[in-house]
Subunit: 337 residues, 4 copies
Amino acid sequence: MTVSIVGASGYSGAELLKILLRHRGVNVKKVFANNNAGKRVDEIYGVFRSQTNLVYEKYSPDQISDSDVVFVALPSGDAMHIVPEILKANKRVIDLGGDFRLKDASTYQKFYKHEHVSKEYLAQSVYGLPEWNCEKIRNAQLVANPGCYSTSAILPLVPLVKENVIEEKGIVINSLSGVSGAGRSTSIDLSFSEVNESVRAYKVGVHQHTPEIESVISDASGRDVTVTFVPHLIPITRGINTSICARLKRTATQEDIAAIYQKYYSKAPFVRVDGTAIPEIKNVNYTNFCDIGFRIDEINNTIVLISVIDNLVKGAAGQAVQNMNIMFGFNETEGLL
Amino acid sequence: MTVSIVGASGYSGAELLKILLRHRGVNVKKVFANNNAGKRVDEIYGVFRSQTNLVYEKYSPDQISDSDVVFVALPSGDAMHIVPEILKANKRVIDLGGDFRLKDASTYQKFYKHEHVSKEYLAQSVYGLPEWNCEKIRNAQLVANPGCYSTSAILPLVPLVKENVIEEKGIVINSLSGVSGAGRSTSIDLSFSEVNESVRAYKVGVHQHTPEIESVISDASGRDVTVTFVPHLIPITRGINTSICARLKRTATQEDIAAIYQKYYSKAPFVRVDGTAIPEIKNVNYTNFCDIGFRIDEINNTIVLISVIDNLVKGAAGQAVQNMNIMFGFNETEGLL
Amino acid sequence: MTVSIVGASGYSGAELLKILLRHRGVNVKKVFANNNAGKRVDEIYGVFRSQTNLVYEKYSPDQISDSDVVFVALPSGDAMHIVPEILKANKRVIDLGGDFRLKDASTYQKFYKHEHVSKEYLAQSVYGLPEWNCEKIRNAQLVANPGCYSTSAILPLVPLVKENVIEEKGIVINSLSGVSGAGRSTSIDLSFSEVNESVRAYKVGVHQHTPEIESVISDASGRDVTVTFVPHLIPITRGINTSICARLKRTATQEDIAAIYQKYYSKAPFVRVDGTAIPEIKNVNYTNFCDIGFRIDEINNTIVLISVIDNLVKGAAGQAVQNMNIMFGFNETEGLL
Amino acid sequence: MTVSIVGASGYSGAELLKILLRHRGVNVKKVFANNNAGKRVDEIYGVFRSQTNLVYEKYSPDQISDSDVVFVALPSGDAMHIVPEILKANKRVIDLGGDFRLKDASTYQKFYKHEHVSKEYLAQSVYGLPEWNCEKIRNAQLVANPGCYSTSAILPLVPLVKENVIEEKGIVINSLSGVSGAGRSTSIDLSFSEVNESVRAYKVGVHQHTPEIESVISDASGRDVTVTFVPHLIPITRGINTSICARLKRTATQEDIAAIYQKYYSKAPFVRVDGTAIPEIKNVNYTNFCDIGFRIDEINNTIVLISVIDNLVKGAAGQAVQNMNIMFGFNETEGLL
């Protein structure tokens, strides 16, 4: 099977290439990166030396004619300009950005700060969270790969909302992200000297993953969820730690909660739930796992959920390959263990 | 004026010494550190080379006879064994640990996991948060210097609780701390390889600063506050970032909140409130400032408060000197700017 | 094929287990760790959750009867007490520590600060650097896996010494190591607060890898080499950067040097030489590669060599598996790409 | 006394402002920063909140008419365009960049990669290393503040070259620098994700501080020195660690070396020499100290010198203020302890 990557020189694109090169069922045909066109992949990412001879090319629609699936790892706002033409060429698309995750174009515009130019494709896009959407993913032509923060928040929350254990309004989500989540960027704000030995809360209450988290959990659980989402940048390269506080609707023990997660995730190959240990980023970095832990604060009748993922793997490229595996009938874990 | 430090070879003790050496009104007489007795201070902390000839000594009560004030920077559980004898010797004491912060010995035992052996001194101890307790501190014989997390949470919360702007029940506090907050310790859990490139939530809902935060805010505001407190260790050496979510009782604008802080903190030399910028640790590290920022999430009728301090300065040694300045009639900022 | 690991709960042991679990030709039978005996592997290293059910056991010689090869990942000084009995049981041994790397017991005692108790095995042990010792490794019963610093220094130096391009006396080696190289230890010196935002040169001129580097290069090249070796601890978890300065014996161009490396390493699957790019640790971390670069300082008639490895992979566990692959007829790269 | 800073919004400029604000003898009149003109200083650097109301202004020559001294903290290549007009206005200038450090314009062009447009001022500029040039600095109109790497290399080397203890040819200097040394820059190469968990040797043998180190040591010692200089970027924000290897011309003990340093630096307030301890960056960060240590490798007849400084303080702004103190008759340590 043949795949191509558009936007292959960013961090998600590079991680995707790394995973696909060890996937036993695919052949990476083309890697597109307009800014780095003409350069060898291993010139930008030395880690690929002796691993591939691929050269970044300038993207044009005729270049993907022999690809069975096209991964789009462009910044949000760019993907919506090229995804329609790829779909029209009867290719299947996995978009790692945010352009096709929200069903509502006005919400998109409010949070992404620009108009959506391909609104007509929002309805058909399938949200690519395999643990909750596996059947739809299997047959989708356009998969919207979840946001990194969103993945870390949705996976621990859906089972508890669905089982009506927690208040669905005003859930508080604090996330800590590694800097690679902001992409391969020249911003002074992302320079080592500005990030190291500090923390930066940002886009408090207005981050674009907020409506994604709310709508996906609401759809999956059938309850109307609202969240206060506070993302923070911390001085690590990779990984997300998400700590969630939610009011319990009824008394619940650690065992009750464990049983709920067991019910929904016992067969999910990449979700590991442990009610005793607290998850730590170092246990999931460079893997496709999401680790989930929890503690009940009985005095406040509140549950604290902690989840961790590698933002570039389960939060981006790994999940994209997991989706591809489902779409094309591979073993769900192929290339990912 | 003459001061001594008991427990001077830990991180708080060392920071205290650094500040006191540049304070124009005091003479550091003795530094006690049983484990390092006989060693020069600059042998343990090279930063003191050419700055002091002090040598760590073994503590005994007769050694402090010529000190006007004794700083105790021992681990919680140790201070309560020696503070009484220092008080009996008519010395004034500033305790940087947790032994005299809580008024209720049973709460102490529940959270500190050992019995309090000097319960009779709890009533007289004064909580050393200068912004709220200045008058009592002035005349106190025993000052309980606040916890680092507590300082970062109490300063932003008290004005809003006092003005009845936020729900006092179920406030959610997420704190991120540098590793020096755990002290100069040999624990594997604090080794570089375990902490770097990761995050560790710990003591979720059961951290000993929880009752301290609750009782101090309740006392200062006259309302019965409860909090869910989630501390995290992150890979920085110094600094605390605290992000707080609280439900608004009534509609409030950014300007309303700014006015409240202005009312309470316009004359506080070490509290800087800015409704537009988000505070960052790097702006307060190596200073005694607490920076506070805030954002209103209108959809959830929730306010997000962000505060930052240097855990070793405003969270420990700096605040201790601020207390000393008040107790002995120095300018409140002496040695601290 | 069946393998066991003695000393499996240290960082090298854990890395070894991670590699062996994905190796298609081996079955990890037993993992020994006296201090953690009885604990599940994934209790100490959460990364193994859902990956293995192995439990650490207390080592005793009868426990390894069904192992074809025993990896020993104990601290130097411990291995020499148990390796003889394993050899006598006709098992093959790969020792990741320093006990069997030096041929001369008095040099061992001088640098390791204790006597060698199994001197009689030094002669038979084979230094496990596959790029230079492949044939001997193939048939060895006891392989002494190279030190991490040594690997990073020997690989770039041997070809140039052998070709008589550089002065073999007084080569200057500056190495920078991640903290995991010091093992999973409780030392205050390795705590995050002591290591972060600093650098620590240590054992200057007296590090135990010095005689290893000298003797291995001397043996491989036939010239009597001496080096001044200056190791530094820097605030990264994994990786070694080694910068070497050596005087040129004759004029040489970048092309001349490239040709020499090409001659010796063109078929080495894990050595990548690039005369134009400067190697960086991030390109080799989590891999078994050693990347080598070089620059000629014509004014001083000196060549600067830069090499990088992951200290836990090519510097320890990865190289150990590479040796095992050679010893047992697997493809040299099995489990390592 | 009144001072101004041109290029005040870079890291060196900000550090300079921080020091000057606590200096008891000066009044900071103007801070110039063309890119940030119109912005408050505390908008760019939150650390200055409540500390100053200064606003960055666009530089023009008439703006400095009431300044007694002008600090120029512009990138090399920019300073040479404006320093002449400031000198002509009879102001004294301390230039923190590289434009007036080398006496030879052709060497400047070779290493800085552009022509020198103010060659005629090179002869009069005084190299601002107070430990070796104090008298000339006192009366200089134009002081060229030393480079950060240069300071760390020159201070340990001059006494040993001057006393004819070490070979002056082919000295090997390996330096490790924090990222702030590269300035406040948008380069991808300086982004957190690229720098963290890695090391980057760069400009090997061709760094512009090489001729500065050589010429200053040669001038101060009367011997013609050459060095191979290998700078590395490591993941810390501040600090330089320099490890130097030099051949001994004659046998020397630790005591001999200590005596030499004692001879030259016993009265230098900011040089601390300790033959037993190894200097560490954390002991000098945020200070104006240079700590020096040394070890003799008898086998190779080589001495290893280790020195550490804070690149922004003794390596830039602190040294600039030390120079100003000398030029204007303040105590040399004013504002710096």
